[in-house]
């Protein structure tokens, strides 16, 4: 019979989760609690468990729950006995269906394409939400430190974040606590190398007493990853000689990627320190550079909390892309710059050796091509527990798709064609002839790949400069009118008598194209017709920001075995990800979707003609329906087959 330390029987509910250290059970009659039953092997390994739990239960930190009842720390509230043997503990139950492990939020690929069961609510998160997460993380650490506890194993799986960016710390039973009565310290014996402070690398963690400053190293690393697209501060491009040293060696020297010292430079495609304000930069420097050899210099959780709160108070969205959030004082949008860098980043040339003799191995682009003496990877000790795998029970094997070995390479996508383009001179509408630029000259539109360039020139007297905002492109597609925003605007002239500019638009939609400089004053003018060789083109009417503006089905091939192959593409903003039908969440007109190919797209996938930011995938699946519906961002699109 199970009893609790405070007295009384414990009745269990169903099992909730199972981890390396123990199993979680619901508690009958107490939906706010959960019971962690520590594995017997674990109890045998560490005889100090009962004493540790007794101390933790007797001395919880102030602020385990915040003022609104949110659980900040999953702290043991009572220990549990089986007879007279301590076998586990009770702690506050967190609603894990509404939370996600920190790494799923800090890693952009996880936010954009969450796994089934992952945080779908984070798809729309911007830097604003991430910054709030960082603030809340610092606040949680502050609560821990204020009570003299040291987290120790401060890793990305022990931090849970909910939809409102509130943070909870779990696995509290492995934290370092001290018995205030006897002074006995219960050490934290685990940790992850990437979050371990330099002074603890190589230390005998079972016996060394950790300082809060070691947590502060990990806190700085976590905040860096949250704010900088998941990048670890000691990852980056090595400009020194030889191979890039391992993270912990760089940490010991304090050579972080955005720091002033050392040959490590930030990785491509990630915003640099222009994304944050000077006070926050200073904190990183104290934590990671000064703090390398002087842990006492690392900023406290309270300092991080204050500085990040101040940063979060003065943000703005970029004009080009409202999902780009950055401090008001930033001169230009660091996210736009990062996206540009990412789409320009060309990986080193390397032909995949499909049916060819092996390609010669090229020299790596950015690093000195010295003969690699591979740096040592620290590998965990293998445990005989793997013998258990041989006796693992039945595993549900998913049905496998048929072999695809004999399919030939699909041919290139043909570029769109422009017809009917010519230079036009358009008079203003009658009532505006005298008060406004009275003539508008539209140069002959030109098409290069998927880019359509339109130049206009407006002259006349007028009272105020209307700017270029009124320049619009409208496409008459088979599904209706679509307003296409420009990719690029190059002003040529902008004064009281003369306004001229060159605009570049994506020409991914087939149809008649109309242009207007200012639709109040000028009529719409036909500038040409674009044909896109494709089976179907569907504008993304929902137009959720950040998703491709249209979807094109280039090719549809019936394959043997009742399968279909679709060559699908989407034109959109760089950096988007889309969720095509997944294995577990088919959103199709037919319910029986099996082994659907699952693709996520990133902004730098293969390019169509003319270097346009274009996404493309070839999907093969057993399918008989007449339409193909899928999820992209938060909008759903249907392509008729």
């Amino acid at each position: 019979m199970l009893t609790v330390g405070t007295g009384g029987e414990l009745r269990l509910g169903p099992a909730v989760d199972r981890g390396g250290q123990g199993e979680l059970f619901a508690v009958s009659g107490r939906p706010d609690l959960v019971f962690k039953r520590i594995h017997d092997a674990e109890l045998a390994r560490d005889a100090a468990w009962p004493d540790r739990l007794r101390v933790m239960v007797a001395h919880p930190p102030a602020g385990v729950r915040d003022g609104q009842g949110h659980v900040l720390l999953a702290w043991p509230s009572d220990y549990v006995l089986d007879g007279d043997r301590c076998v586990g503990f009770l702690m506050p139950r967190l609603d894990i269906s509404r939370t996600a492990e920190l790494h799923l939020l800090a890693n952009p690929s996880d936010r954009r394409s969450p796994a089934p069961g992952g945080p779908h609510w984070a798809v729309q998160w911007t830097w604003r939400e991430l910054l709030h997460t960082a603030v809340n993380l610092a606040a949680a650490v502050r609560v821990v430190h204020d009570s003299g506890v040291v987290i120790g194993d401060f890793q990305e799986r022990n931090v849970l974040v909910d939809q409102t960016a509130l943070v909870s710390l779990v696995d509290c039973d492995s934290m370092q606590v001290a018995d205030p009565d006897t002074g006995r310290v219960f050490h934290c014996t685990v940790g992850r190398p990437e979050y371990t402070a330099p002074e603890l690398i190589g230390a005998d963690v079972a016996n060394v007493r950790r300082e809060p400053s070691s947590d502060l190293f990990a806190l700085a690393v976590h905040i860096h990853q949250i704010l900088f697209s998941g990048a670890h501060p000691f990852d980056g491009l090595w400009t020194g000689s030889g191979e890039k040293p391992r993270r912990d060696r760089l940490a010991a020297k304090g050579w972080y990627a955005n720091g002033r010292k050392g040959p490590l430079r930030p990785p491509p495609g990630v915003p640099g320190f222009e994304l944050i304000t000077a006070p926050v930069r200073d904190l990183f420097d104290r934590a990671l550079a000064e703090g390398a050899r002087r842990p006492e210099r690392r900023p406290t959780a309270a300092e991080w909390q204050a500085a990040l709160r101040e940063l979060a108070a003065d943000l703005r969205s970029c004009r080009a892309d409202r999902t780009h959030v950055h401090p008001r004082e930033a001169a230009s949008c660091p996210w736009c710059a990062a996206e540009r860098a990412r789409s320009e980043h060309a990986p080193p040339e390397h032909a995949p050796p499909e049916h060819a003799p092996p390609a010669r191995v090229p020299a790596p682009r950015q690093v000195a091509a010295a003969a690699p003496v591979r740096r040592r990877r620290r590998w965990p000790a293998w445990v005989g527990a793997f013998a258990v795998l041989a006796t693992v029970g039945a595993f549900a094997v998913p049905k496998v798709a048929d072999a695809v070995r004999t399919e030939p390479t699909p041919p290139d996508i043909a570029a769109p064609r422009l017809t009917g383009a010519s230079t036009r001179t358009v008079p203003a509408k009658a009532q505006f002839q005298s008060a406004y630029p009275s003539t508008l000259r539209i140069e002959r539109a030109s098409l290069s790949g998927f880019r359509l360039t339109v130049s206009f020139d407006a002259r006349g007297d007028y009272v105020s400069n209307p700017g270029f905002r009124g320049a619009r492109l409208l496409v008459h597609t088979r599904r209706g009118l679509v307003d296409v925003p420009p990719m690029k605007l190059e002003p040529i002239a902008s004064d009281q008598k003369h306004i001229a500019a060159r605009l570049t638009y994506p020409a991914h939609l087939p149809g008649d194209y109309d242009f207007v400089f200012n639709r109040d004053r000028f009529p719409w003018t036909r500038i040409g017709r674009v044909d896109v060789p494709a089976v179907a083109v569907v504008p993304n009417a929902n137009g959720a920001f950040g998703t491709p503006a249209s979807w094109t089905l280039f090719r549809k091939t019936s394959l043997p075995g009742g399968r279909l192959r679709l060559d699908v593409g989407g034109y959109g903003r760089p950096g988007d990800s889309c969720l095509l039908p997944t294995k577990s969440e088919p959103k199709t007109t037919e319910r029986e979707y099996q082994n659907q190919t699952y693709f996520t797209w990133n902004g730098t996938t293969s390019m169509a003609v003319g270097n346009a930011p274009f996404y493309r995938a070839t999907l093969t699946f057993p399918h008989k329906s007449r339409a193909f519906r899928f999820y992209c961002g938060i909008s759903e699109t249907e392509i008729p087959l």
Partner: protein, 226 residues
């Protein structure tokens, strides 16, 4: 020029990577029960790896099959994008060419990691064969190259022989680590061990005092004999 869609290195995933190349023997002798069990095991491998929250985005898997011809059946893809496939048998055993192809894949991927500023763990080469290599001198050269790579700590190599006809002597030349012999057709447990190994790397939980020795996995228990 557009190519069929191959998942490229995902730059918006900044997690450290571990690249794992599976070299699978699909020569004629694998026909029947062996290839069926292999296919089942591979499907299990993809499924399990895709479920671990860290391994699914940190493990990158490539598959090179060798049977008559050498084919990159799966170019490097993150475990969460792996689609199980059925391999079919044909031909003899060009293991040398397969090894060359696998080493090229590994070198190429490492270069991509470095150019992207990503951290990576030492890649794995996992070789499964039920016979003798049939490409003579090509195999000899490949073994030399592989030994160099292993010596320079460029990869961790694991070789497994399938069935009675497996040439353990030749497989023993692939790694300093002795080859294992698969017990019967226990591909399932073997692939489960491999995915658990990848999960271990991704989760790198335990760590201790820095040491100079390479961590060597214990001899595979349950599914093989060392």
């Amino acid at each position: 020029m557009t190519a069929p869609f191959t998942p490229r290195l995902k730059l918006d995933n900044r997690d450290p990577r571990v690249a794992c190349v599976l070299l699978l023997d699909v020569s004629l002798s694998m026909g029947g029960a062996p290839i069926d069990e292999l296919n089942r095991g591979y499907a299990r491998f993809c499924g399990e790896l895709g479920e671990d929250p860290l391994a699914r985005k940190r493990t990158e898997v490539a598959v090179v099959t060798f049977g008559g011809e050498v084919r990159v059946a799966q170019p490097f893809a993150e475990a969460r994008e792996l689609e199980p496939q059925r391999f079919s048998v044909s031909g003899t055993t060009p293991l040398g060419e397969a090894l060359d192809t696998a080493m090229d894949l590994v070198e190429g991927r490492k270069a991509e990691y470095r150019a992207a500023g990503l951290e990576y763990y030492r890649p794995w080469l996992f070789v499964l064969s039920d016979g003798s290599p049939t490409d003579g001198e090509r195999f000899e050269n490949a073994v030399r190259r592989l030994s160099e790579m292993e010596r320079a700590k460029g990869a961790t190599v694991f070789a497994v022989g399938i069935g009675e006809a497996a040439d353990m002597t030749q497989l023993a030349r692939l790694s300093e680590r002795g080859p294992a012999r698969l017990r019967g057709l226990q591909f399932g447990p073997m692939f489960a061990w491999l995915s658990a190994s990848m999960q271990q790397v991704s989760n790198s939980v335990a760590f201790g005092p820095e040491s100079d020795t390479t961590q060597i996995p214990l001899p595979p228990v349950g599914w093989g004999t060392a």
